[in-house]
């Protein structure tokens, strides 16, 4: 997908004027937050687990090459194949090639943010392969031709009426007079449609929440069970994952899984947690005949040696966006690429550049709620600030803003001059604003006064008044 992060301000305006979206965002604000809070309260050692989870990922990232090699060895040993992709284009080619060789006409897919990142569906479809998303949320946005607006709830921006309309438009072979009023009717219909696809599929593609070096396993967590059917039924199973998904042991994976579901949906564990290790063995009741893992870098290894390494701890739980007041206001699409919310504000510019996505790390009040809930303790505000610094250094931020800051800093660094100038400025402002108490409009403050009054200063500055008082105190 072509990023539209540069058009962030337009995206924001659209989102704020979209009543339906605004209603849908209300659900994010309550549901996820309450559930996480309850799950956290029920597990006294939750915050300790977060520390452990962070340490596990830090350790893995420090020895990434080692664990990835070990992982490859184990996958090969169990009869699978590992493919390395440096770029999105390489990953797409590898997967297309695997699908072509399998003679695939239909491909089923489990939910994968990495597949979104490399725009896999478009690529396969352009070659005449039918791609079917089997996660309900992903299926909904697929039939609408949209991108996910949330990393764990991709269709959170939609309401029931929209879904019903889309189903009637898409599932034209079903009776027109069927009832689709109730949510379970919609789910059932999706299930029926998808069942045929599961059976018809030649290749199943899933993402991976974790890769385990010790065993060569990939792990997915789902609540619908669609992931299992995607990876078991077709003849070929392809896992698409990025390098930072690796952890050393099963034990480590369990620690991370314990914070993942709680942070994401407030569940202790998701309904399904599925480990897959290689293709079907002779005695296995089911499983694919071929097992491939495509491991993508796409700019991540460059982040390893920098302060942005911490972002690579992310387990894509979505807690940061669930708790983000900016996300609550504008939803996920406004961020303009695959990853929304605070994690998107850091990851997107790191991957596609501050020139294209400089707005995202700027559009934050640094309220700190994301960092407070992130299970992997990623200092998201700090990293957004680092990106602002990078933007400032490259002079990629608007020149008016940079000039404004420099002029202000010139005065702020010279207390005497600052005092003399602010005394005058404040006296003028107070003179004009004191009666009414606020300004309805002020030149150079249009951003503020567009929606708010600007409270007028009381009259004179503190330092002026203090100097007089102190003189009085001394003379008394």
């Amino acid at each position: 997908m072509e990023p539209t992060s540069h058009a962030f301000k337009d995206n924001v305006r659209k989102a704020l004027n979209d009543d339906q979206l605004q209603r849908a965002l209300g659900n994010v604000k309550t549901g996820f937050i309450d559930k996480r809070a309850k799950a956290r309260a029920a597990l006294p050692e939750f915050d300790q687990l977060r520390d452990q989870a962070r340490d596990i990922k830090d350790h893995s990232l420090a020895h990434l090459d080692l664990y990835l090699e070990e992982y490859e060895r184990k996958v090969t040993y169990s009869g699978g194949h590992v493919h390395w992709a440096a770029t999105a284009a390489e990953a797409r080619e590898i997967i297309l090639d695997l699908c072509t060789r399998a003679g695939a006409k239909t491909v089923t897919k489990g939910k994968s943010m990495v597949a979104e990142e490399i725009a896999l569906n478009d690529h396969l479809e352009a070659q005449g392969i039918e791609v079917v998303e089997t996660d309900l949320g992903e299926y909904l946005i697929q039939i609408r031709g949209e991108t996910p607006s949330h990393i764990i709830a991709p269709a959170v921006h939609l309401n029931k009426e929209q879904i019903e309309q889309d189903f009637r438009k898409t599932h034209t072979d079903l009776p027109e007079d069927r009832s689709l009023d109730r949510p379970e009717q919609l789910v059932n219909e999706a299930r029926t449609v998808l069942r045929d696809k599961f059976i018809a599929a030649d290749v199943g593609i899933t993402g991976a929440n974790l890769l385990i070096a010790e065993t060569g396993s990939s792990v997915i967590v789902t609540n619908e069970g669609n992931g299992d059917l995607t990876q078991i039924l077709p003849r070929v199973h392809i896992v698409i994952a990025t390098i930072e998904k690796i952890v050393p042991t099963r034990e480590d994976a369990m620690t991370i899984l314990r914070v993942l579901a709680r942070s994401a949906t407030g569940q202790e564990f998701t309904t399904y947690t599925t480990f897959s290790t290689g293709p079907k063995r002779p005695d296995d009741p089911d499983g694919p005949e071929e097992y491939h893992v495509v491991i993508l870098d796409n700019g991540r290894s460059e982040m390893l040696g920098t302060e942005f390494r911490e972002v690579l701890r992310c387990i894509r739980c979505g807690a940061c966006m669930n708790h983000c007041p900016v996300y609550h206001a504008i939803g996920g699409h406004a961020y303009g690429w695959v990853y929304p919310g605070p994690i998107g504000a850091v990851l997107t510019p790191s991957l596609i550049g501050v020139e294209k996505a400089g707005h995202l790390p700027n559009a934050s009040t640094f309220c700190g709620r994301c960092e407070a809930v992130c299970p992997m303790r990623i200092p998201l505000p700090k990293l957004m600030r680092k990106l602002r610094e990078r933007e400032f250094e490259k002079a990629a931020s608007p020149w008016q803003q940079r000039a404004g800051i420099k002029i202000w800093a010139f005065f702020a660094k010279r207390p005497r001059l600052y005092r003399r100038s602010t005394n005058i400025l404040i006296a003028i402002l107070a003179r004009f604003g004191r009666r009414r108490g606020t300004f309805r409009y002020l030149p150079f403050a249009g951003g503020w006064t567009k929606y708010r009054e600007l409270p007028a200063p009381q009259g004179r500055t503190f330092h002026q008044l203090w100097r007089e008082q102190r003189n009085e105190r001394v003379h008394k």
Partner: protein, 268 residues
């Protein structure tokens, strides 16, 4: 260490507090500075106001201008490092001095230690009164219902949550009615409020809805930036809620016109 040398020899010596006024209080609402001085003196402190202070540097720091932020940080350190404590009537500025100065100067051989030493002495006003000075009640009265907004930096960087509520509970006649989502950002965010006014407005509108729900007649918080944002919105909406810094009420100095009230109105 220098700070230990300046510790009181005899128990009687009052702690010397350097008041970091903050730029917004200096320019827009000096009465908050005087309220802070009154509270600190009541708490047995000797208050000083160094001349060489302007701002904590956040506008530069949060705009990515690290160089200017560093210069301003050094200026603050030089002006304040001789005091026993540094106190600011703002969680955001206190957080800047306490949490961010050391990070900002950690590669600077001459300054990193000084930054760390200063950071250890910095406190936000209300938490200083309660946690450091052990104040449990104030001599003040306010006959009405107030609601309190938790400003983000104070809450999440400095752990300020109960201290203001504990002191408010001791104000004669005051009734505290909590608003829903008191911990959610008001949408100020410094330059954010002018760079992204649309988002900022959506955020402050939710905040003012929560405030209105309480039917309180007075909104309090510990940060003038947030207060000016919320007051600005409240005034534009025409909601009958007055807005003040918490120090004004705790110091029993809530008789100036409230934030955004004109000089001809607001005095009851």
């Amino acid at each position: 260490m220098q700070s230990e040398q300046t510790q009181p020899r005899d128990e009687q010596r009052k702690p010397r507090v350097g008041l970091f006024v903050t730029c917004l209080v200096d320019l827009f609402r000096p009465s908050v500075g005087f309220a802070a001085i009154k509270l600190l003196e009541q708490a047995g402190c000797e208050v000083h106001v160094p001349e060489a202070q302007t701002c904590c540097g956040q506008p530069a720091y949060n705009s990515g201008d690290r160089t200017n932020a560093q210069s301003i940080a050094k200026q603050v350190i030089a002006a304040f490092e001789t005091y026993d404590y540094v106190v600011a009537p703002s969680g955001s500025c206190a957080g800047m001095l306490r949490k961010h100065f050391p990070a900002l100067l950690d590669n600077d051989r001459d300054w990193s230690e000084r930054a760390v030493r200063l950071a250890g002495k910095v406190h936000e006003l209300i938490s200083f009164l309660v946690d450091v000075r052990g104040i449990t009640k104030v001599d003040a009265r306010y006959y009405g219902t107030v609601t309190y907004h938790d400003s983000c930096s104070g809450l999440r960087e400095l752990g300020i949550k109960n201290q203001p509520r504990d002191l408010l509970a001791s104000v004669d006649g005051l009734k505290l009615k909590e608003m829903p989502n008191a911990e959610i950002c008001c949408g100020f965010g410094g330059t954010f409020s002018v760079k992204y006014p649309d988002i900022s407005d959506a955020m402050v509108e939710k905040k003012t809805d929560s405030i209105e729900e309480t039917k309180a007649d007075l909104l309090l918080a510990g940060d003038l930036g947030c207060l000016m944002n919320m007051a600005g919105k409240i005034k534009r909406q025409g909601t009958p809620v007055a807005v003040r810094h918490i120090a004004e009420v705790l110091a029993d100095m809530a008789d100036d016109p409230a934030i955004g009230d004109g000089s001809t109105i607001g005095r009851q």
